[in-house]
Symmetry: C2
Subunit: 481 residues, 2 copies
């Protein structure tokens, strides 16, 4: 029998850990803070990679690979960057049996090592833009870790682009945060808000950080992707100048953008339930499990199950049969619910006689009877689409229900325990810090989506919820992962 997982209402954090381990998505390793991504979890990452990589290429990007190690002097070249990253780095001091003359940092992010190459590659505007992405592992020393969400080593992609004008780099920043939104909403079924980070939450070394922000089932926020406008900061740090179209010299304009295996954590926290993983069909390597009820003419039932599986797979719906006699149907139902297979087909001798089968949806647990005829693949495909849509709708409804507008700080403090709170902010880092200190809530995002802005009148002037000073805009506050 599958291990029992804690319910969400009993202990949300424990539910998450139980689920990740029971569904064999990931496990802690014997290396402090590092995880093992097990095959079930890695399969989700592969689906994410495939979809994202295609979207990156469709927007003109190519992949490359830069070194894991960064000389200490490189990290130090950009002042904010070293301040932000140096304390959380793993440092290599010995190699090949000898102490190194210069320490090497295991990359926490690759701006510096990449710009030391870009400096060599860029002489003229003809060499621009450079639109490169890298799939890689990165290391940031973490004190408190949580599988997928916060680990010392994680996998990600990092885009690093170089442009001739600030307009082009700003366009790229917005283009890529929109690619992330499309991916989050269309593949992960996860509604997100596009917007900017405040100065205190932005990337160390960026002029501006754009993000997509999502809500989890415990109504906490999770930053799901970022796209940074780096201005000329890294070009200046690496003295990377180019000859402009009109023959002048200028520093190159830069962006960087990334998403990581953290998205797997977001996916779990957004959709899964007390029975286990709930996967959007588009990110499921196996979309349908067929479980023959082994009574009567077992061979005939199994044969029919495999025939259905072949038909579905041939129609682009990856299906498989579990006809092992070792486990009962009930055990199998529970096991594949735990694993998040989007659809289950139950098939017994009587069903075959009636020319029907029972189909159970993972998202709603609803069962339907379907005809075992030529229409089956189409019907299954429609249900899978309905699951994909339902997960998104459900998550959006949940977010709307847990988004509040506060008109006083006492109201704010209550509301922020239960979701996103929209409130006027005076624009100072001091207010932001005070609110964080007192409530643990931070400004998650200053929305940049017209619909969201108008819905919550984000740009309406008012009075700061905390300081009482004039506020030019509202911000979205929440506790966050």
């Amino acid at each position: 029998m599958a291990e029992k997982i804690t319910t969400r209402s009993a202990d949300y954090s424990q539910w998450y850990i139980d689920l990740v381990r029971s569904a064999k998505l990931a496990d802690y390793s014997d290396v402090r803070g590092c995880m093992v991504i097990r095959p079930n979890g890695y399969a989700i990452w592969e689906k994410m990679q495939t979809a994202l990589d295609r979207m990156f290429k469709e927007t003109g990007h190519v992949n490359a690979y830069f070194p894991l190690f960064i000389p200490e002097s490189f990290i130090a070249k950009e002042a904010e960057h070293i301040e932000g990253f140096a304390p959380e780095c793993a440092v290599v001091t010995h190699g090949g049996g000898e102490e190194l003359a210069e320490k090497l940092y295991v990359r926490p992010t690759s701006e510096t090592i990449i710009w030391s190459s870009y400096k060599k590659w860029i002489q003229s505007y003809r060499d621009l833009p450079i639109l490169i992405n890298q799939w890689a592992n990165v290391v940031r020393w973490e004190m408190r870790t949580r599988l997928f969400l916060r680990t010392t080593e994680f996998l990600w992609q990092e885009g690093h682009t170089a442009h001739a004008t600030p307009e082009e780099s700003q366009e790229e920043v917005v283009r890529m945060i929109n690619v992330y939104k499309t991916f989050a909403e269309n593949y992960m079924a996860l509604p997100v808000i596009i917007g900017k980070k405040t100065d205190s939450e932005k990337f160390a070394g960026a002029v501006d950080t754009w993000c997509i922000e999502a809500m989890m089932q415990d109504s906490k926020a999770l930053q799901a992707g970022t796209s940074h406008n780096l201005g000329q900061n890294f070009a200046k740090a690496f003295d990377c100048q180019f000859q402009t179209r009109d023959g002048k010299l200028d520093y190159v304009w830069a962006t960087s953008w990334g998403v990581s295996t953290r998205l797997i954590g977001a996916l779990i926290m957004a959709h899964s339930d007390d029975r286990g993983l709930v996967l959007p069909p588009k990110l499921a390597t196996r979309q349908v499990v067929i479980i023959p009820i082994l009574k009567g003419d077992k061979a005939a039932v199994c044969e029919k199950a495999h025939a259905i599986s072949r038909t579905l797979s041939a129609n682009g719906i990856p299906a498989f049969v579990d006809d092992s006699e070792q486990n009962s149907p009930g055990w199998k139902f529970a096991e594949y619910e735990l694993q998040g297979i989007p659809l289950r087909i139950e098939l017994g001798p009587r069903d075959i006689q009636n020319g029907t089968c029972i189909v159970a949806r993972r998202d709603t647990l609803e069962k339907t009877e379907l005809a075992l005829d030529d229409t089956l693949s189409v019907s299954i495909s429609e249900i899978l689409n309905a699951i994909q849509q339902n997960l998104f709708d459900r998550a959006l409804e949940f977010r709307n229900e847990h988004t509040f507008e506060a008109s006083s700080y006492s109201e704010f403090r209550e509301m922020v325990e239960n979701g996103f709170v929209i409130a006027h902010w005076d624009g100072t880092a001091e207010t932001e810090a005070k609110i964080k200190e007192e409530t643990k809530a931070t400004i998650r995002v200053l929305p940049e989506e017209p619909d969201y802005i108008s819905r919550y009148a984000m740009h309406e002037a008012g009075t700061c919820i905390y300081s009482g000073n004039p506020a030019a805009q509202k911000a979205v506050f929440a506790k966050a992962y």
Copy 2:
């Protein structure tokens, strides 16, 4: 104009470096011994990954990801393993601003960190086999580096499997070395010999190492992939026992197998020429470049070029047009020859009038006239297949011409300057070491392919070429990368 590259006859090593850098495949980084894999080079790796990953999955394997860092005590658990790898490791001594209690090795290979997880996952024969592959970066401190062939950090895949019986693990070892051979020959157009390594050349910690061995254009050998039978060595080191089908306790049987970005170096050295890269069509992201000759009605020529490109791409032949006016056709011819685009189509106003185009093969540099009609895609596709086959045939012929049988040591010493030498070996590590010392040649492989064995009578008893002692078999000697 593209940079001039040194010719192979003038200086083979310099030719290789010039080619890699001019074709923008890779570059040295500012980190000692580490390379930057540039987009043109990484595109080849992506094609390799796609083909290999599919073959791994078809043989029942799944992907996962294990930590980059390995505690020092883990590496030390397998005696031969630590002796082989510890001296070439990069060592992390500090993390999060503090000195670590235990040093962490950056993985040079992952047997130890993976078996520390397998120990937790395996209790019974029901948990076996485990068939896991990992795509990852690894680090081995190298004193003398060469782009792709030998760098401190490189990318690879490493399969790690666990089995209930020695028969199953041996089957896996042979299955995977055959997958590598199929990939090398069918995709890379690189003929290889399957066989075993001698004890002194085998993997540190393995019972047996199987390999595929290839010949480069300078007639040196290059090990292109390995598959290790690890016996119970790592299971014993990590105390990983399981309950067998008949209720006893036994240690788990293991294999590991890998290929790396080194294959890109092999690909270049096997096929390329003095004009630049020669790519087998199956590993080319872009198979056809169309170069319009911009005379007369330029717009009409460009339009036709793009129409051809769309038709080819729609027929599964990735094509693109270079219609920039900045560079001459001659410059473009040289540039795309350097980049290794397998086929070039030249298209001028007169060609269009005649309903023909000129097609130039990258491998032979031959030009043919083709009709600009419905048959074009099929004709192009046939030429691409012919290129793929020709590269393999040419490489095989070259290997055959540079494989010699020595009957005396003086003959051996001459022959080994020009290729593979097949000679009787007395089976001792001492003889092997002496020959290496005196000639720099090593035993590359003890062939396990029936055809090769019978062709060169590998198992015929005789007298050792070096010691004069009785020899039960012959071995393949060569200088190697």
